[in-house]
Symmetry: C2
Subunit: 156 residues, 2 copies
């Protein structure tokens, strides 16, 4: 599957949380954080997933993605094998027009960072921009979770 | 799961193939070849698997292993993402006493290498040694498939 996503920072002065319909705690680690072959173990609420991603295409918008649900108990045995730098965040699902924004508030060593993502069907697809949406950072590797796991936001 | 395996070179003068009950072609690549968190994509005959292994324990005999069967078509989309150095081999299953030896004959850049492995229930378990069994190489990283994918036998 090809994944088309656009990613943004947030304007810190506006509260997006009151528009969220759901929030879920996420803990994730990387069996490989290399962007050419990222292998991620994620526990998301009551579920867990193993996800493999390839390198982005030239525009930075599209990326190969393979994902399988696995039992949470198995994810818990895999997390200790991961590279140092497990990521903890709460994901808010925020409906905006016809789309759902996934807004991730980071904790631990990435405390203070908030990122919003919207998934699109094509690279050209239009979407409504909420007032709290800030600078676009799509394709910028320093905002990949795999990068943040090794280079925490706090240390910037 | 903990995996207990002992690995051996073969005495080149003895033919093990006439004792084999089955042979299967294997093609495999690594999404991570680091022995601390090996992630392997394997197509084995008509089936495919994603396998994650941790580091060996001190004795080198026991290693954490997690494995899931995946569709061959998905393995084929994951192989191009793998690190350079895909491994090709034929695995012969050779019954010896109460155990099955898995004897791997390598091709491509590891042409000429043959390795035999036997899986045990405990580190102390006894097993019958066939006449073709050579030097034990259990726990030696230069005979890990993940290492061979990057440092082929031919170049030695």
């Amino acid at each position: 599957m090809q994944e088309i996503e656009r990613k943004f920072l947030l304007k810190s002065t506006v509260n997006f949380k009151k528009e969220a319909r759901k929030n879920t705690r996420i803990v994730q680690g990387y069996l490989n954080s290399n962007p050419e072959r990222t292998v991620r173990v994620r526990i998301k609420g009551e579920k867990a997933f193993l996800t493999i991603k390839g390198i982005s295409n030239e525009s930075g918008l599209s990326r190969f993605e393979w994902e399988k649900e696995i039992p949470v108990s198995e994810a818990e045995t895999l997390l200790p094998l991961c590279e140092p730098g497990v990521i903890e965040k709460v994901r808010y699902e925020v409906p905006v027009g016809k789309h759902i924004f996934e807004v991730d508030e980071f904790f631990g060593s990435n405390d203070g960072l908030i990122l919003a993502e919207v998934e699109l069907s094509t690279e050209e697809e239009e979407f409504e921009k909420p007032v709290w949406l800030g600078e676009e950072v799509t394709g910028r590797k320093e905002f990949y979770n795999s990068y943040l796991s090794k280079h925490p936001f706090k240390n910037k």
